[in-house]
Subunit: 338 residues, 4 copies
């Protein structure tokens, strides 16, 4: 059994990780931390019966585990990741601390000095459908953000094939409220979010933007801007990204479907819907799937709909998928919930 620790177990992502890893056939959970709930049981924090004792991060010994899943806030994660690496554990970091390769970009977007820059060059961007080989050999994986996961998987076949004709790409994204975390604020108050739909941080202000542009550029998309408009939707979980992309006028729907199907033919968690069907949140929620649909609005006017569960493929599930690759397990182990 591979011994793992979950850092930041009192948030929604931590809970989801706990849920998945408790059912994972090759894992034993040895450690669960929550700084502000140290000493409590998980059943004091969530309506679950699991008898798990929470400890403070600062009291945790990463030496007792083979892998650390780090669900701490940006800024807090890098120190714990460094400690865990120093103790010999592999790290899957679900924060943003190792996603941006350039410490200057990190400083610009997160307002913090990166205090483990030596780890940045080791960190592999954990999008398994794109970087599986690198992930297999990695000691530190930066688990992608939820928006980047849904957007990049929707664009990857086109970027790889060099088919995007004009720029910018437009990503109109809709996210469930759990994406905003469990700390209460006015935006996540039931009465404010319910019966409402609101754009937020549109334009160039959302922190997932530089992560997406960095990866698009690496995939050959050149350093062109993405127009990214996130919206908050009154559902607990789920994410739908509607992507507007200019492709060559001559491409027929069947050709595009073939491209996507071939690109993802070995990917257990990408489901390209048949022509005529549209991806919705319901296709993906509570699974590790990314569900894609392709629609041509006119010649060359492609609309890709990309649906994931923000807490699973957008966070905890993808983290376990990366973990499986890092430890030489079946990529799907623990994730094949029907």
């Amino acid at each position: 059994m591979i011994r793992v620790g979950i850092y930041g177990a009192a948030g929604y992502t931590g809970l989801e990780l706990m849920r998945i890893l408790r059912g994972h056939p090759a894992v034993s959970i040895e450690l669960a931390t929550a700084q502000s709930h140290a000493g409590a049981r998980l059943s004091d924090v969530f309506p679950v019966p699991w008898d798990v004792r929470l400890v403070a991060e600062t009291d945790a010994d990463p030496g007792v585990v083979d892998a650390v899943f780090c669900c701490l806030p940006a800024g807090a994660a890098m120190a714990q990741a460094a400690r865990a690496r120093a103790a010999g554990a592999k790290v899957i970091d679900l924060s943003a601390d190792f996603r941006l390769r350039d410490p200057a970009a990190y400083r610009q977007w997160y307002g913090l000095e990166h205090n483990a820059p030596h780890l940045l060059s080791q960190a592999v961007y954990g999008l398994p459908e794109v970087h599986a080989a690198e992930i297999r050999g990695a000691g530190l994986v930066a688990n992608p953000g939820c928006y980047p996961t849904s957007v990049l998987l929707g664009l990857y076949p086109l970027l790889k094939a060099g088919l995007i004709e004009h720029w910018p790409i437009i990503a109109d994204c809709k996210s469930g409220v759990s994406g905003a975390g469990r700390t209460p604020n006015l935006k996540t108050h039931f009465v404010e979010a319910n019966e409402n739909l609101s754009p937020y941080n549109i334009g160039r202000s959302h922190r997932h933007l530089p992560e997406m542009e960095q990866e698009i550029e690496r995939l050959g998309g050149a350093a062109r801007p993405l127009i990214f408009a996130p919206h908050l939707v009154p559902v607990s979980r789920g994410m739908l990204s509607t992507l507007y992309v200019a492709v060559p006028d001559t491409f027929a729907p069947a050709t595009l479907h073939k491209l996507f199907a071939e690109t993802y033919c070995g990917a257990p968690f990408v489901w390209v819907l048949p022509e005529g069907q549209l991806a919705s949140m319901a296709h993906a929620v509570r699974t590790n799937r990314c569900v894609l649909s392709l629609t041509l609005a006119g010649p060359g006017q492609l609309i890709v709909c990309s649906a994931i569960d923000n807490l699973v493929k957008g966070a905890a599930g993808q983290a376990v998928q990366n973990f499986n690759l890092m430890f030489g397990l079946d990529e799907s182990a623990g994730l094949v919930t029907p």
Copy 2:
């Protein structure tokens, strides 16, 4: 025009009062306070276009208004109510500070010493369907809580006629989330409340219990306990109380309907549904109505369903109804939204 002030305008009840009073034909709003938003405009606090400047309670001069609607938290209201009364304004207090007649009970349930006990004897309990005559002459009205409004209106015809055979009465009550106020906490977090229904403070711990028992006793119900079980429901607004009451075995449905219809025949805001129909939140939401239905589960086993909007008949609407009576206006003025 009657000049009014709204104290505590940055909460859900304050907003609803603002909405109603802006459309009231005999009112001009002269003052709106919000201690923690002093200096802001209402449009900075809510998604509304009204150009209203908020001031601090402590800076407000109640001398410029004829009436104060006080939507402050328990404990904060009594001081402002006393100031307003001293300045000559009539007060409709929407907090709990003047609902319990006995300062000892107030201390027990609210953990505070009452600092305006001289006003307690002046305060009239503002349930217009029961106490209209007293309200007309009052300078200070204690606006009932939302649960008490829905429960008392569902029981009043039975209490008045002395028909309740056995005790206890059971009140299984369901409330929308706005009843918990606008200050964010885990209970009102969208992800916690959504797709959930949870009992809270059941047994003898909810602060609306002594208020209900006090009024039931005044209405002739003797000092018997009420079993009260509030539940939080994933809707923004609305309240349904399902009341289980033992009545004489010999009463036919038609007799009970007649009793309710007659009791409320002059009441513009009570709607007794015809036999065979059941009151739901949808009958009452966004109106000042209390909607009642009567069902006999068996001989003597009466189920009264009582629906209100917790923010309207359960708070702001009823406050305006009391205001209308206090100022000799038509009881329905400003409230006849279709």
Copy 3:
């Protein structure tokens, strides 16, 4: 008092019209039809206490009213509109039957032969912020669809000023479920729509597309395609259109705000938010407002967010606004709910 009839009073739009018109100071409702509920009372169909008797369309005499609001389905409306016009009543038609000027387009999109083509040339497109003068003199107004209202009001200042640089415009639109009507089907089943968000009829298949393209062309946008992607959102009412438009690179945010503010300076129901704020459904729901926000994602990359209530500004409220203009009343009469 102007005597009006509501045809199709048993749907959500009909109910909303009833709600607004009952509070309208210059209106008396003389007629309410519902073919499949003929003989019933409105309170049998909806949880409302209004004592309104429904009659069959085919039994209704439009001669007794001065104006008919027609909320019938496409195809059924044109015959009733023709009857009403023949009887001398003015008509505000909320169906699609008089929106497309070209009977061939109507046939193509609705699969029906237009049987009142003589009225098409009389029909005025009822977007008051654009066509007020024509509406004032009209006997027949085609009330715009909900999507076209939100999209066209978001584009109008740009189209009028000739500022749209590149095509296509992208309209990513999100609608509440009431837009799908009250007839139950799987798509509107609570369990299917709840906790879900789904695109539908994207590409070139939604019937509001030709209506939008027709109007964009009339406003000088040339006959270029619009990319239109509607999505169903788990809210009862509300619509948000996120519009992506290429404008000149040199335009500053303040210039664009000024353009929008000036274009709509006399429009009582358009609210252009200050810079830095974003329009959400909550800004518009249960009002006749269209709320607009402007964000530049980069030079020339404008994102307009346009929020309305699909049943009010997107249907019943706008119909009353048109009615007010047609009868020489204040444009806001009956609509100034706070």
Copy 4:
């Protein structure tokens, strides 16, 4: 592997069974029927990727399976259950057809003549926490309704110990919308159910009432009436029953907790919460758990809150629990989702 068939796979219960059984280590699904979708794939009916072909019930051969899960409507189930028994398969029937032991009661409540009365005496009521021994030897199990499951598990320790002092018991029950099935109607329309909470079939009209009274009587409760008030709640799944029961005045909370804990000490799916905690839907949703909490409102005034997932412990999960017992498997096999 035990070969199973799912009859009625196109409803919510059928889908949930499919989900559970696909993950069951000892099961192979050989047959899935849906009369009105015969020939379709499951992925045409639900947003799931499973490649399952649906056949008509009338074309299905129960001879190819060891067990049939029957999710057909009342009236349709009995014929298929009889066919399956005749072919040698064991049957877990999720309809109401074998729950009432008396064919006359079935006729009274369901308006149908029972056409397999010879099977009624064989049928075991499938509440494993009460009837495990009988279920182990059964060929035909009548899976309880969702309301009866939540109510009976909340009362069983009290009934078994003979502690219920006065009658009637009151069961105020709240159910998610999936309990109403997938066939669209006005009651399950999103706009009708959303932002609403409505009682329905209260009094003595809900079909789960005779089932509950039959079982209460068998458990020693004598033939006394239960007051049962079901309510529809705007959540997709989940059920909370709030039960008001008179117990001896002298019982302390700890005594009651001990009684419940001991009664359910070997039951893997009953979770009795510690004193001071209250059961909510969130404790049970998407699990096979029944979660119970006990609160004394006053001496002898017990409130039991009982939460289940109506589709899991209230239907598909309990059916698999019964199946496990019938085939000598671990009671929890396939059900230990974390």
